[in-house]
């Protein structure tokens, strides 16, 4: 492990530590945004234990498992891209960012098919079928669509951030002396992964 101390005074207005702290604080906000949903989830699961357990069987563990692995790998690739940047290896950085974006896309495609399958069976927010479900089932699927949907939106935001970073690495605006953007997009991407780590057992693995 290498340890380097830097002291740059070239650009007075630039404060990478501030940017990073800002990103962390924003991540806290995001955690509590989902936190509200986790509260709702735990209350309703507590009140409808049987319905939740039965309803979850409609979800495919395989799908959820594959998506979990995809996100874990993409988190690792982002982490690697940062290491590569620190080692001033632009090629690997770019490759890893590209792979991350690709994996994110695959995640969304999977999600599309997963949701699509539900929609085909007439199971979507506001559908007749859903209105006629029993209370516990309805809550389960409402939460399922809402939470995975919001998570999907965060995947999109993360992709946009990583996409911008990728372009800036290409143009050299982000480089081994100035890569706060890469670090912070990376942090955000890990957050998206972190949330999924909890969503997966809560929706797919109820027993």
């Amino acid at each position: 492990m290498e340890t380097i101390t830097t002291h740059q005074h070239a650009d007075l207005h630039r404060d990478d530590t501030a940017a990073k702290l800002g990103m962390w604080l924003f991540i806290f906000t995001e955690i509590l945004l989902f936190g509200g949903l986790f509260i709702v989830y735990s209350v309703y699961r507590f009140k409808n234990p049987v319905a939740f357990e039965l309803a979850h069987e409609e979800l495919s563990i395989t799908m959820g498992f594959i998506n979990t692995i995809i996100l874990l790998v993409s988190s690792a690739t982002v982490a690697i891209s940062i290491t590569a940047m620190q080692k001033n290896d632009r090629k690997i950085t770019l490759a890893m960012l590209g792979i991350t974006l690709l994996l994110a896309l695959v995640f969304l495609i999977n999600k599309y098919f997963e949701w699509g399958g539900k929609f085909e069976h007439g199971m979507y927010p506001g559908s007749e079928l859903m209105k006629n479900l029993s209370n516990g089932d309805m809550l389960f699927f409402s939460l399922y669509f809402f939470m995975t949907g919001l998570h999907g939106v965060h995947i999109l935001i993360g992709m946009i951030l990583l996409g911008i970073t990728l372009v800036k690495v290409k143009t050299g605006a982000v480089n081994s002396g100035k890569y706060a953007l890469l670090e912070n997009s990376g942090l955000y991407w890990h957050l998206v992964d972190l949330i999924w780590i909890f969503l997966f057992p809560l929706f797919y693995l109820i027993h």
């Binding site: 830097t6 735990s42 690792a76 890990h190």
Partner: protein
């Protein structure tokens, strides 16, 4: 302007962390397919928390960064946990 020490994690450590996370994921899936009553959920949540901690410590670099970030994360998690507990004073005893 940055007065932090830069710690570079080697590629290998990222790969190891990833493998660890995947193994834990497999374990959760296996564990939840065994009948353990209410402990299934407990086990799943404990493993998820371990995975989350690993992501925070290694991928998100808390282990190597200044302590302040770690402290903040701990406080945020503690507040959130306490909010859930206090909410359940209602639902547990209603």
């Amino acid at each position: 302007m940055s007065d932090e020490k830069i710690h570079i994690s080697p590629y290998k450590s990222h790969i190891m962390v990833l493998l660890g996370l995947i193994v834990l994921t497999v374990i959760t899936v296996l564990i939840t397919s065994v009948e353990m009553g209410p402990y299934n959920t407990t086990a799943a949540m404990i493993i998820a928390s371990i995975k989350g901690a690993i992501v925070l410590l290694y991928f998100m670099h808390l282990r190597f960064d200044q302590k302040i970030y770690g402290i903040m994360v701990a406080i945020v998690v503690a507040i959130f946990a306490a909010v859930i507990v206090v909410t359940f004073f209602d639902y547990l005893y209603r």
